[in-house]
Symmetry: C2
Subunit: 614 residues, 2 copies
């Protein structure tokens, strides 16, 4: 396209953004208008994308990190012929695909955006896939706002992208000077962003974001630089083209006051249609082998840490499946992903101590068809909570594994203890939460989780626990195991992970005292095994949960939820970590928290007595 | 001290670190040994601190961001005479104060560390207090490792510190080249860190971290630079001084293999005692006025958003109390902290879109005696989850306020909806979780939360809701309000926030259909009002919870928890947001999620029928 045509296209994108927001009665037209010239040049001259085949692995990726500028994205789709004008005007309407912020309800959207600062780290995941795994020549374009450059996650990504020499990553920063409530820190000081990114090892280009010729040259240069990531830092004006809003405070996130006049000021509607260049042909996705899975087998009665079983099972899964990738945040010797690294170094990605980038990397990889397992301490997954939340909005299939769960880690103290992770992961829409108690169970669950949808979480334990299941036992997701039961059971103990072994010891002690109890191993915390819990409740009348986790959001709540459909509810009691632990041995910690065998036995006695007395 | 003495002191710190870890059988002596010279020079020549009066507001702050190097910190305390050798050897022992990672169980520790990358952003909060609020000449020293420079939170802090010209902030980076599992990204390339920090606006000094004379000069220079933050970037060797571990991989986080030989190699025990310079006298904490509180009053039946009531109540609280500070992440026009900003601009802190720094800033401010209210969208508080978790370990008193809760925000879609915030905040140890449904209730709760301990959370709603309580009604934390009740109630509806109004409408419709129900407004989600819930359960036999939140971790779980002490449990059912919302109007969203009046009435009928049928 000639530059005059690009300018026309940009004006069309502005007009359509104004129209979409006006039809919706809400939205962010001014944030769209600032980036219209950038987007026009990108679409018409640089993006390689087959809109009729969004699954084409050779397509460029376009991550719209400033997701609130969705009117601009949807106007691009219209210009590319992917949606029609009628659909454009369904923006933000119920049951439509054009949500307030983009989600993969649209086939051309790989990941949801709208939580700022996530586009670049997710783009890093995609760029890693392109460079090191897919080995395909696609480029990853990330359109970012200037406000979101304040998010630390952007700098985690900037660091990792440069370190990994991601030449296929192209960041475009729309520096429109104004955030939601006023000027950004650096306003139109492009050099502030450029200096920072260059210091991190990026190639940077500063440009007038409304000069289509200059933008075209900048993007051409960005494409040519392929040994390191490039940022095009563009000075723009929010609301560009309409005097009533241009470069003015207080015009964020609302339709234009007079859309009709604005459209006229922008030169009225256009009907420019862009033939977007498809990706180069014959670049099929790399074949990913499948071999029979040979999980590690652990001997009954042996002692092994579930984190170790995880590492070994993941290595085995990696041998069986060429699409499995392991990611870690510089603690692979603790999470035991080091087993995978040793066997599959080409599919092991080290993210250093940057948990947001770790999870965002997994989201980016799965968008490119990989099956990522991202591991760190359970406690430090909280660092990436917003990324996990957005992964669900992205309909992303990712595996998260948190080690060092609970007080049972011992001396390191509360900063290292995952005590809130079950609450965090249970509350994620569509998630699966697994918490094995022994090595064979762990191995089976690792294999099972790889094939599920959504966010899958596995919680592992630092210390060794006895192997209580044979290597051929099966553990369906959504199931549980009844480890002790008899006709005269007076109570049910529901445990998972490290507390299963405490519960078994308590059951033995109680049996010796003439109080037989049922023990349920709730390895699938979400979904939870309603049927088994209901049977146990019916048979014993009361249920005691015991968990190495806070009393809120974990196993106690999961069991309570099983009885939240109006059915009769047994008496419930819960043991959990209520105080703030300090340093102590694992055994002392379990006792101090009141979740060891002794505490369980005492609680069962109180519960049974109370019922008898009632 | 002469340089030879400083070297002796450093060797003593190494010996004591080795001894402490050896006595504990765990810990991080090698990470302590790398920073021993830095710490020795800091303690003896630059820190101004009165160990006999840790509450002295003029004391320098020392934030040990590399918290795993706690043996070094405790060895410093011993050298300063704050603890004795006997206590040093209680390191990591049960009931001791010398935990694996430092916590405020020790009077000289302001904030817990151990989750890497948190020390600098918390230090920024303290430095802001010193510069803009306390106006005291203390310095904030942050000792950081090199691995943690990969955390985005460090760069959020670097940006904010330079932008706010925090000349009192002094970062010391112990670049010992080795992380937990191997080399860091930049190993001994000091320039990599210096270039990045300089690009963000810092003054940087590169130094050999084992040359005490050079370190002394560097810290002197750091003290002299007072117009911007300074980083001393020191090349060191992990395990310095003991050949068996020095600069070697695989020596992280474990006692030295032969402590006795190591101590001999280090020249044996010393008995250097440092007289630490106290802070300049006569610098008392700024007086913070208290005036009678005049909360805004809202008329019964009027419509007002709880977020607006929050903003107005906070402004009023700020007028009554000179110690209240408002913090926001560039969304003050949405959270409505703009009301506070207008009235108290000198106590309003803008953190831009950097939620980790927002919460860390609050933690730092409260450590200096301020009462911070940190606000952003509820959804984006998940970004700071790890900081909230660590705030609890720090015994920090902070107020967090999340706006735009739930699907009721409408068209913006799921990325902007706080749907997991109750789960996250309930699981924080010692937290309080409040969720008002009207403007007067909001105002009262804002006043109440300021005086509580621990992490306090208030959840606000975007849209307007009717005022159902008079301005003089009281709302004790831990209480609830019964809004409808009668002798023949057939069920109890428990709601909070926006669903209270849906529940009231449902109750009216049900009453008209001959099904009287009780309605409980559970404004205090944690602690929860066990007594009222128990009474309602006893009277009605079944309880339906309804919440604009995921089914996990929120009001349904909170009510279930009220019945988790072995008492008889009523039948329970819960309505919550189960699917993934898209864009729609607030009313459509509530209906689609099945939490509007119509859905509630239908659920009550099913529940009551089911019980009758049973």
């Amino acid at each position: 396209m000639r530059y005059e045509e690009l300018t026309e296209l940009a004006q069309q994108l502005r007009v359509d953004s104004v129209r979409a927001a006006d039809a919706a009665g809400s939205g962010h037209p001014t944030s769209s208008m600032s980036a219209a010239d950038l987007a026009a040049v990108l679409l018409a001259h640089h993006l390689r994308y087959d809109f009729s085949d969004p699954e084409n692995p050779a397509n460029d990726r376009l991550v719209f990190s400033k997701g609130h500028a969705s009117p601009l994205l949807y106007s691009l789709y219209k210009a590319a012929g992917a949606i029609d004008d009628e659909e454009l005007l369904t923006f933000r309407k119920r049951d439509g695909r054009l949500e307030g912020h983009p989600t993969p309800r649209l086939p051309w959207v790989d990941v949801a955006t709208g939580s700022l600062g996530q586009g670049l780290p997710v783009g890093v995941g995609m760029a890693l896939a392109g460079t090191y795994l897919d080995r395909l020549p696609y480029r990853v374009w990330v359109l970012s706002g200037d406000s979101e450059m304040a998010e630390g996650s952007v700098w985690e990504a900037a660091e990792h992208a440069a370190f990994e020499k991601l030449g296929n990553l192209k960041l475009i920063v729309d520096v429109n000077r104004l955030g939601q409530r006023g000027p950004t820190r650096h306003q139109h000081d492009l050099g502030a962003y450029a200096r920072r990114l260059r210091a991190f090892g990026w190639h940077t280009i500063e440009v007038d974001g409304h000069d289509v010729e200059a933008v075209d040259k900048a993007l051409t240069e960005a494409v040519e630089v392929d040994e390191r990531p490039t940022a095009v830092i563009a000075a723009t004006r929010k609301g560009r083209g309409v005097a009533a809003v241009e470069d003015q405070e207080g015009k964020h996130g609302k339709p234009l006051p007079d859309a009709e006049a604005a459209i006229e000021e922008l030169g009225g509607p256009r009907f420019v249609r862009v033939e977007v260049e498809p990706p180069p042909a014959a670049s099929a996705r790399r074949v990913r082998d499948r071999e029979p899975l040979e999980l590690p087998r652990f001997e009954l009665g042996a002692e092994e840490a579930t984190r170790t079983a995880y590492g070994r099972a993941l290595a085995a899964l990696g041998s069986a499946r060429g699409d499995v990738v392991a990611l870690d945040a510089e603690v692979g010797d603790s999470t035991r992903t080091e087993y995978f690294e040793k066997e599959h170094p080409d599919r092991y990605l080290e993210f250093y101590i940057a948990e947001q980038q770790l999870v965002a990397g997994a989201v980016g990889l799965q968008a490119c068809g990989w099956v990522p397992f991202a591991s760190t301490f359970a406690a430090f997954l909280t660092r990436a909570h917003d990324f996990v939340r957005m992964a669900a909005v992205s309909r992303a299939g990712i595996n998260l594994v948190g080690s060092h769960a609970g007080v049972s880690i011992g001396e390191d103290g509360p900063s290292q203890m995952g005590l809130e992770d079950l609450a965090m992961l249970r509350s994620v829409q569509g998630s699966t939460v697994l918490y094995p108690c022994d090595a064979n169970q762990t191995a089976r669950l690792v294999a099972a989780m790889a094939d599920l949808d959504g966010v899958r979480y596995l919680r592992t334990t630092r210390g060794e626990t006895p192997v209580v299941y044979g290597p051929d036992e099966e553990f369906p997701v959504g199931g549980s195991k009844v480890l002790r039961s008899g006709d005269g059971d007076k109570a049910t103990i529901v445990a998972a992970g490290v507390t299963v072994h405490e519960a078994l010891r308590a059951a033995d002690a109680l049996a010796a005292d003439g109080i037989p109890v049922r023990v349920v191993d709730l390895y699938s915390v979400k979904p939870v095994d309603v049927e088994t819990l209901n049977d146990a409740a019916g048979a014993t009348g009361c249920v005691l949960t015991v968990e190495d986790h806070r009393p809120e959001g974990g196993i106690g709540d999961a069991v309570a939820e099983a009885f939240s459909d109006g059915r009769p509810v047994p008496r419930l009691a819960r043991l959990a970590v209520r105080g703030m632990p300090g340093s102590a041995t694992p055994k002392e910690q379990l006792h101090a928290a009141g979740i060891d065998a002794e505490s369980i036995a005492a609680a069962v006695k109180l519960l049974v007595e109370r019922i008898v007395a009632h």
